[in-house]
């Protein structure tokens, strides 16, 4: 496995970069000291609430049921940890949780879309059954050359999950991958996603986080050839006491590649905390690339905090376009006034503004079933706090 991963990264023949944006990965646990919380990559995360998965807590639990609805022609099943596709994305654990999960995973959930197959959505629902022990998960999604597919991974129930997700797109492949965190309040979910995007391939990666006590997702992408495109969309809604963290790293490893990142979050209630780190590295070889990343947060009540840190590191002068935007704001009084001046009640006005905040993003996901579900979930979240006492 390790060998496979290394051979893939060797095949890319990249110069080593001393980028401050991402620590060198390693499969060797000895290379990943137990974090103290002072490290750059851990400084926002409430380590005490991770149930020890960042330290030495056993990852031997199996408290999950898996429900699969696979699209025609798509293979979606549990396979052995020694499956040949494991490691092919080039994922090399960048932190201790990922390295531990890699070592501990006893099997792999594989979604394999054969080359040139154009198919609908494959839905995989992981239901945490609240076992005592933390679980190590490993998912591989491989889409063959010129195939087109949608894969929705949904997480519900209660669990402590340390997970690695590998996403492999062949040349010219199209994939929409959704990871939907709709956990119970006490769940802990640490996920490391890594995508390898083939020549002229197109990945839409969608992360939606509503539930859970601590959800930390670290998602990285690299390109196996020129012309690849990545669209990363994120939507999150943090309630009182919840910690939701998304760390993104787009590594422009090939020329003429594109990345477009938009994450939007709403926060409400005491101690709601969201973190968004958007790192983009444009390597010397990556001429003519385009990148844009954006994070917007809507803080709906006092006592909530959103951290947002975009980083762009450019090693070539020859780029087609690069930009980023980050903004965190409260309800816009002028918007509320305008709506209310047309007779719309305060509660309804707030509801419209929040739905409006997420609407563009939800539309870009382009999955109608999910669109309705997300709108309904946003509504349910609003009812908890923002509209309390108003309706």
């Amino acid at each position: 496995m390790t060998v496979t991963a290394e051979s893939v990264s060797n095949a890319l023949e990249l110069d080593k970069v001393e980028s401050h944006l991402h620590p060198e990965g390693s499969f060797d646990l000895a290379d990943h000291a137990v974090p103290t919380g002072r490290e750059e990559v851990w400084r926002f995360t409430p380590l005490k609430r991770l149930h020890g998965i960042h330290a030495d807590a056993p990852l031997d639990g199996d408290g999950f049921t898996v429900d699969v609805v696979a699209a025609d022609g798509v293979r979606a099943e549990t396979v052995g940890a020694d499956h040949e596709l494991r490691g092919r994305s080039g994922l090399i654990p960048r932190d201790r949780v990922s390295a531990r999960a890699w070592a501990a995973a006893r099997n792999v959930f594989l979604v394999d879309v054969p080359a040139e197959l154009e198919t609908g959505a494959t839905n995989v629902t992981f239901t945490g059954t609240g076992g005592e022990s933390a679980v190590a998960g490993h998912v591989v999604v491989r889409v063959g050359a010129h195939a087109k597919a949608t894969v929705v991974l949904t997480f519900v129930g209660s669990a402590t999950l340390a997970e690695n997700v590998e996403i492999i797109l062949g040349d010219g492949a199209h994939l929409t991958l959704v990871t939907l965190q709709d956990w119970d309040d006490d769940a802990v979910h640490h996920a490391t996603h890594h995508a390898l995007v083939g020549r002229d391939a197109d990945l839409k990666h969608v992360a939606v986080s509503f539930g859970g006590d601590v959800v930390r997702h670290d998602t990285s992408t690299e390109y196996a050839g020129p012309g690849g495109s990545v669209n990363m969309l994120g939507l999150y809604f943090a309630d009182a006491g919840q910690h939701i963290e998304h760390r993104l790293f787009v590594d422009h490893t090939a020329p003429k590649t594109k990345s477009h990142v938009v994450y939007k979050g709403a926060l409400q209630g005491d101690g709601a905390h969201t973190v968004w780190i958007g790192n983009v590295l444009i390597r010397k070889v990556a001429e003519g690339i385009e990148t844009y990343e954006e994070n917007r947060n809507l803080v709906l009540t006092d006592g909530a905090r959103a951290d947002s840190v975009p980083n762009l590191e450019i090693e070539t002068g020859e780029i087609a376009g690069a930009g980023h935007a980050s903004a965190t704001g409260r309800f816009d009084d002028e918007q509320l006034f305008y709506l209310r001046s047309r007779g719309i009640s305060e509660a309804e006005a707030r509801r419209l503004v929040v739905h409006g905040f997420f609407t563009d993003l939800i539309r870009q996901i382009e999955l109608p079933e999910l669109e309705e579900k997300l709108a309904a979930t946003v509504e349910a979240e609003l009812a908890k706090n923002v509209l309390k006492g108003l309706i």
Binding site: D332, D333, E334, Q335, F337, Y338, L339, R340, S341, R342, G343, I344, S345, E346, E348, A349, L352, V353, H355, G356, F357, F358, T359, D360
Partner: protein, 253 residues
């Protein structure tokens, strides 16, 4: 028959150096069937008057009263005022990203009427109102005011006025930033509204140009937070000829 009555209205805004009085005793009565024009130089407090009547939270009423058919407007929330029959076409309409014009209009209409409009006729009404204001029906799918040109925003305000059909319309510089064609279109919309019967209009403007298309029954000259002079339409002609000079000097004395 409706009556909007403003008596000795005093309004302050919060500034870095404490509260600053902007309106210094405004008294004005508008009956339905009447069109009043308020004209005044920049910074005289015209928008402050409009916003205060609509209930914008930035403005603190420190004295006086505003009533609509005897009901205390100042005691009402912003949305209650609108539901009571007041409408403010804003000088700078606000963009609301992600909320479509059609959703916005339907929500507003439902709130004001207390019941949802009949779907079939409503869509037609909306399209007709937009077209009357020279707005393509595709505007219904766009986000409220987002990316609209200055003129489109103003025309959208008047489309709302016609659809929501309030008792009293306050139009804050709806004419500014419009080219001559748009000015006519907007004026036609206001005139259709006013002729709808039992409607009052308070037209705030800086220029006399719009008064060629909308005929006021009364003209009030607004200077330094107060009405400095009142009269009929002839006062507007006088202002056109002489400008605000005379009133500004009088106010400075």
């Amino acid at each position: 028959m409706s009556k909007l009555e403003i008596i000795d209205l005093h309004v302050s805004v919060e500034t870095e150096d404490g509260p600053k009085e902007i309106l210094k005793g405004v008294t004005l009565t508008i009956n339905s069937g009447e069109t009043h024009a308020i004209m005044g130089p920049n910074g005289s407090g015209k928008s402050t008057l409009a916003y205060s009547i609509a209930g914008h939270p930035r403005y603190a009423v420190t004295g006086g009263s505003v009533t609509l058919d005897g009901e205390d407007v100042l005691a009402m929330s912003v949305d209650e005022r609108a539901r009571a029959g007041l409408f403010l076409a804003m000088q700078y309409p606000v963009e609301v990203p992600g909320v479509s014009v059609s959703n916005f209009l339907r929500t507003a209409k439902t709130a004001i009427d207390g019941e949802a409009p009949k779907l079939r006729t409503w869509v037609k009404e909306v399209n007709a109102a937009l077209e009357d204001l020279d707005l393509d029906t595709t505007f219904a799918q766009r986000s409220v005011n987002e990316g609209f040109s200055g003129g489109e925003k103003k025309r959208h305000e008047i489309a709302q006025l016609e659809l929501l059909a309030p008792k009293m319309a306050i139009l804050d510089e709806t004419d500014s930033g419009l080219d001559i064609d748009a000015l006519k279109t907007v004026s036609d919309g206001v005139n259709r509204f006013a002729e709808g019967g039992e409607k009052g209009v308070l037209l705030i403007t800086h220029y006399t140009r719009i008064l060629r298309y909308i005929k006021p029954d009364f003209v009030h000259v607004f200077v330094d937070g107060k009405i400095a002079e009142e009269g009929g339409p002839e006062l507007a002609d006088q202002l056109e000829a002489e400008g605000y000079e005379r009133f500004l000097k009088a106010a400075a004395v």
